[in-house]
């Protein structure tokens, strides 16, 4: 039960991030291709930072295995993104959606750094699940439909397939970690 409450709270806070405080702020729907590319790359890079933290702190084999998977997969997807932007000779553009993702992740990292043992594992697992759910929702619902460049669209579709696999894996990890803690 507690898990679901936390999870709902995480989803709500993720939604709030994208809710502009004033009418002038950018929302995910407003982004152009270069901004979408920036958000997608940032989302991967932030998950890589969480994974490094998990490998530094957690001793749970399931958590460590998942973190290694995040390093490998998000690294590969972001390498593919770099190859594409290099080939297209463009530069992804920073934007308010990327900035709020970065700011929110900094908060989560400080929560993670303050935790240890089973508590760390639980926060990491729940955050990975809600993070992937949130990113996948944005990819499927907004970024993939809105992307204009066909190659960017294909890259985002590959990314979505990858992150969906992670989402399923994260569900199992949350389950395992919460059972271990009870």
């Amino acid at each position: 039960m507690r898990r679901h409450t936390l999870f709902a709270a995480a989803l709500m806070s993720a939604a709030l991030v994208f809710m502009p405080p004033s009418g002038q702020a950018q929302s995910p729907e407003d982004l152009n291709d270069l901004e979408i590319a920036h958000v997608a790359y940032s989302a991967g890079a932030l998950d890589i930072r969480y994974a490094h933290l998990a490998l530094a702190i957690s001793e749970n084999p399931k958590i460590r295995e998942f973190a290694a998977l995040m390093l490998r997969d998000h690294g590969a997807v972001n390498d593919a993104a770099v190859a594409l932007i290099t080939r297209l000779n463009v530069t992804p553009k920073d934007n308010e959606v990327s900035q709020s993702l970065v700011a929110q992740a900094a908060g989560i990292r400080s929560r993670l750094r303050a935790a240890e043992g089973a508590e760390f594992d639980r926060i990491y697992a729940e955050n990975e699940l809600s993070y992937h759910q949130f990113v996948n929702g944005a990819l499927a619902g907004i970024f993939i439909p809105n992307a204009q460049n066909a190659e960017l669209k294909a890259l985002l579709e590959d990314a979505l397939a990858t992150f969906k696999a992670h989402e399923h894996h994260a569900e199992a990890m949350v389950e395992a970690v919460s059972m271990a803690g009870e």
Partner: protein, 121 residues
Amino acid sequence: MTFARGFAVLAAAVSAAGAAWLTAPAEAGDSEPEVHRIEIRRFAFIPAQLEVRPGDIIEWVNNDAVPHTSTAEDGAWDSEELSRGASYRVTVDWQGSRDYICAYHPHMTGRIDVVGVAPGE
């Protein structure tokens, strides 16, 4: 190996190859080991289930940006990390069915069913 024995082996090899070449029509796909290609794409083995014959060759090719593996559940083979564009081949030298997974993403599963006998048997 003596010269005579070496010559005999060589002659036998040449005549076997020649005989096979003479008797096998060019399109005799039925009697040649087949190469079956399994594509890894968007976190799936395509096709996920494959029927092969003993002696056939199975080749996995990873077309995803992320690395995958082809790893037999019983340990019979393990491609280890296949990055994008990499491939891995296994020669079918067993009978019956074998299940395999991607070791990195274990929800990715596949099965090889060996049916029939080897070509020429």
